[in-house]
């Protein structure tokens, strides 16, 4: 006989639900009690993007590491916020020999390392030689310095391979900050990642890849920091950085990794006096690279036409809410010494005329594949906007097709000539025009206007001009106004050839809570962390 049993309701389940509710309630209560923000220190919390894998100056290259090293160490010279070279560990400006091949630098005599040892010429020479042996960017220094000499305890002499004006700027680089020979005795030929013993206003109290603590160095030779210490934290995405500042979890935010709308939101808050915002000198430029050794971009007229067709103001507004400033030079404004920008402004009539001269617009369209880096959101927006702008302004003359490629692949294939037109950016390794012009324009071997070997090939333009390399070399031998003039000449030659079309520059920004003073930047685009403090 079949037994008809229905699944009955579980009468005790309401009790289970009650128990579950109590349990959840207790958990929430515990969590809530644990959720009360705890501020247990007077130190300032400073957030930035990305983790710090090493604090060894010999490995430093990212902005995040340079920023920390700037607080922990000093350099021989610094660029002040007006862009002027000022002695830091050096006692005076460098003395250049008549032949320009020897640079003598007198050093301060009142400087101590964090471990108590004395800073002197031997210590400086040790640090420079160590960098020349193991520094990841030693090619920048090797190219200039032949040997290092210490004629007396507080005087260092650099013998140069060639006269170089830009070496003064190079000596402001945080990766050339001196380290204590005593502390680095066992690391003279290998990296010391999680410690740093230098001469700066802060000592490194603790180090983790995502958290570092900096405390004021009592025996610092210069002015004491305005704060009692810093807790630096490194967050991995822009939402976290933005949220940490808005929620008040961090005191200061240093970052260029924020999305454009987040930057705009923070600027808006700053305009309402809810935050304090500062902007430093731009060190990063963005440009279009045109492959100039094959048709159709082999024609200078076509490249010039494209240069005239770019509406930078519109593109900057659409892509970055005007937060990226239009640029018509290969050198950021802070390093140009007031010289004019040589690239043409947006001029539709001129662009059309040039396209017509090149045989387009009258039944024939220029087909141009434009590559953008898929992992850089602003690249894609720029490409889409320029494409739409050309479609609107010059529909009969030019048609742009877009290709998205991951940046690693772009860099790998650039020198192979894989891209007709590609959007890229560049930040100089030190604050000097040479750090922009040489890596973008140098050419070792050329044939007419085509570069066959050199940085112009590595950069994907394959372009040079008669006399360009000589002007570039000459500019590094001159000083002052003469040098600026020569640099402007090189910039103008590049503008006439138009292998690049500069788009905009990106100035670093920093935000602080309203109770703090506005962050200040030095001439290298790094925040002066020692000057962060309560508003006076």
């Amino acid at each position: 006989m079949a037994i008809d049993i229905k699944i009955r309701s579980v009468t005790d389940l309401p009790r289970f639900r009650l128990q579950a509710s109590v349990l959840i309630g207790l958990t929430l209560a515990f969590t809530q009690s644990a959720c009360q923000p705890t501020r247990q220190s007077e130190r300032l919390t400073v957030a930035s993007a990305g983790r710090i894998s090493s604090l060894d100056p010999a490995l430093a290259s990212t902005t995040g590491v340079l920023q920390v090293l700037n607080a922990l160490g000093d350099t021989l010279y610094i660029r002040d916020n007006n862009g002027k070279l000022q002695p830091q560990l050096a006692a005076t400006k460098p003395e250049l020999s008549d032949d320009g091949l020897s640079l003598t630098i007198p050093l301060r005599q009142d400087v101590q390392f964090h471990d108590g040892s004395r800073f002197d010429a031997e210590a400086m020479a040790f640090s420079l030689r160590r960098f020349l042996r193991i520094g990841s960017q030693r090619y920048l220094v090797n190219d200039r310095i032949e040997s290092i000499e210490t004629p007396d305890p507080f005087r260092i002499r650099l013998h140069l391979k060639r006269p170089s004006s830009s070496i003064e700027s190079l000596l402001t680089s945080p990766y050339l900050t001196p380290v204590s020979p005593k502390a680095y005795a066992n690391h003279a030929d290998r990296f010391l990642n999680d410690r740093f013993i230098g001469t700066g206003p802060y000592i490194l109290s603790s180090f983790r890849n995502t958290q570092q603590r900096l405390l004021p160095f009592r025996n610092y030779w210069g002015p004491a920091p305005r704060n009692v210490g810093l807790d630096l934290i490194n967050l991995s995405n822009s939402t976290a950085l933005f949220g940490a500042l808005v929620s008040g979890e961090v005191d200061v935010l240093l970052s260029n990794s924020l999305d454009e709308d987040q930057k705009r939101a923070l600027s808006h808050r700053a305009s309402q006096n809810l935050l304090r915002e500062s902007q430093g000198p731009a060190m990063n430029i963005t440009f279009v690279t045109l492959r100039s050794n094959t048709p159709p971009l082999q024609s200078r007229t076509v490249r010039q036409a494209l240069a005239h067709s770019l509406n930078r103001r519109l593109i900057s507004t659409r892509v970055s809410y005007k937060q990226r400033e239009p640029l018509r030079s290969l050198i950021p404004p802070s390093l140009r010494g007031g010289k004019t920008e040589p690239w043409p402004t947006y001029n539709l009539a001129e662009a059309r005329k040039l396209f017509q001269q090149a045989g387009y617009c009258t039944g024939r369209q220029l087909q141009i594949p434009f590559t953008y880096r898929t992992n850089v959101p602003s690249d894609r927006l720029m490409a889409l906007t320029w494409q739409a702008q050309l479609e609107r302004d010059l529909p009969n003359c030019v048609q742009m097709t877009l290709n998205g490629v991951e940046s690693t692949t772009v860099y790998k294939q650039l020198s192979e000539g894989s891209f007709q037109a590609v959007i890229l950016d560049w930040g100089g390794s030190y604050p000097d025009p040479e750090a922009y012009l040489a890596p973008l324009l140098s050419c070792k071997r050329s044939n007419g206007n085509i570069c066959e070997a050199g940085e112009a090939v590595d950069g994907g333009t394959f372009w040079t001009a008669p006399g360009l390399q000589e002007a570039l070399s000459r500019s590094d031998m001159l000083k002052g106004e003469q040098r600026l003039h020569e640099i402007a000449t090189v910039d103008s030659m590049a503008a006439r050839g138009a292998p690049y079309i500069p788009i905009w520059f990106v100035a670093p920004k920093a935000w602080a809570q309203n109770r703090l003073s506005s962050p200040t930047f030095n001439g290298s685009g790094l925040v002066n962390l020692a000057q962060l403090g309560e508003r006076r």
Partner: protein, 339 residues
């Protein structure tokens, strides 16, 4: 006894095959990394460094050797238990794993516990009235949490609870104002052992959001599995027999149906551990959790071959161990299982 021998043989086979599997995975990762575009030298020097400088670095890192030579070197070191050093800063890969794995395990284990409690509670709550309100809500919850894009959900939770309400930290693993306790790397455990209560509070505050988010996203799998198997079990003959013996419904569910319905859940939990690594990456990125998945992603971006290889081998070994452990546990709990 025969079953015990079978189980032993099965485990021995699985463990003996583990090195083979690890070798296959390591070889595949080695090959894929070299085939993928990008160059660790670019990550160290920058993409626009002179070719001569790049060639010099490539030579010092041994990257100018033939692929075959590099592969044999890698295998030789792996067999000696040496995972090599990071190309970026010469830090030992073993030390990198030692620093980051505890963070991921702490997050993963907490998330798994939350997922199990939450998922099983929701799945169980619908049993009283199949097709009722609670059952439908549980079904919706199971599908909904499973279907939520993890990155979006994590960001939303972060914005609401950390940014808007300010209840919990936006990211990180420990308050910047405190010094993390020394020890195993499991901060909650270390805080308790050291009696450091402010560190414990700080660790929990930082763990709550990422663990709850990951737990919430994983809980749907538990809900659906339990619902499905509990409903099936409640209709089985032995449950009917228990009822006919006059046992209360609570006794029937708790003593007879639930233990049997939980066995598949245990197997699912084992599979989830493997998928946890992928899920944890998105959570670790969103909440800046300094775990092994975040480090893996950064090392892939930098094409730091030894770190990527080492981390993947470590994760694979972990998954193999968990898988064998789950099989053993299921076999011990369920006498019907044969190998």
């Amino acid at each position: 006894m025969a079953r015990g021998r079978e189980l032993f043989r099965y485990c021995a086979t699985r463990l003996a095959l583990a090195p083979l599997m690890l070798w296959l995975i390591a070889s595949l990762v080695f090959l894929l990394l070299r085939v993928a575009p990008g160059d660790p030298v670019d990550a160290v020097l920058g993409s626009r460094a002179p070719e001569a400088a790049k060639a010099a670095l490539r030579s010092s890192l041994g990257l100018d050797q033939s692929l075959w030579h590099q592969y044999l070197d890698f295998l030789g070191e792996l067999m000696r238990g040496d995972l090599g050093v990071a190309l970026i800063n010469n830090e030992s890969v073993r030390s990198i794993i030692g620093k980051t794995l505890p963070a991921s395990l702490e997050l993963g284990i907490t998330a798994l516990i939350i997922a199990a409690i939450l998922g099983l509670a929701v799945g169980f709550s619908g049993v009283a009235k199949p097709e009722g309100k609670f059952d439908l809500a549980g079904r919706f919850y199971g599908i909904g949490t499973y279907a939520l894009p993890p990155f979006w959900a994590a960001m939303l939770i972060q914005l609401v609870f950390a940014v808007m309400l300010g209840w919990l930290p936006v990211g990180g693993r420990f308050p910047p104002s405190l010094i993390p306790p020394e020890g195993s790397g499991f901060l909650i455990y270390d805080s308790v052992i050291n009696g450091n209560w402010s560190a414990l509070q700080g660790s929990i505050r930082h763990l709550v959001l990422p663990a709850c988010t990951l737990g919430l996203l994983l809980s749907g799998v538990f809900t659906n599995t339990l619902r499905l198997h509990l409903n099936r079990t409640l209709k089985s003959d032995y449950v009917e027999a228990a009822r006919s013996r006059g046992l209360s419904e609570t006794q029937v569910v708790m003593r007879h149906a639930l233990p049997n319905a939980l066995l598949p859940v245990l197997t699912i939990a084992g599979i989830i551990v493997a998928s946890l690594i992928g899920g944890a990456l998105l959570i670790e990125v969103t909440f800046s959790w300094p775990g092994i998945a975040l480090r893996l992603q950064q090392s892939i971006n930098q094409r730091d071959y030894p770190v990527v290889q080492g981390i993947i081998v470590a994760i694979a070994a972990l998954v193999v161990m968990v898988s064998v452990a789950v099989d053993l546990l299921v076999a011990m709990l369920d006498p019907r299982v044969r190998y």
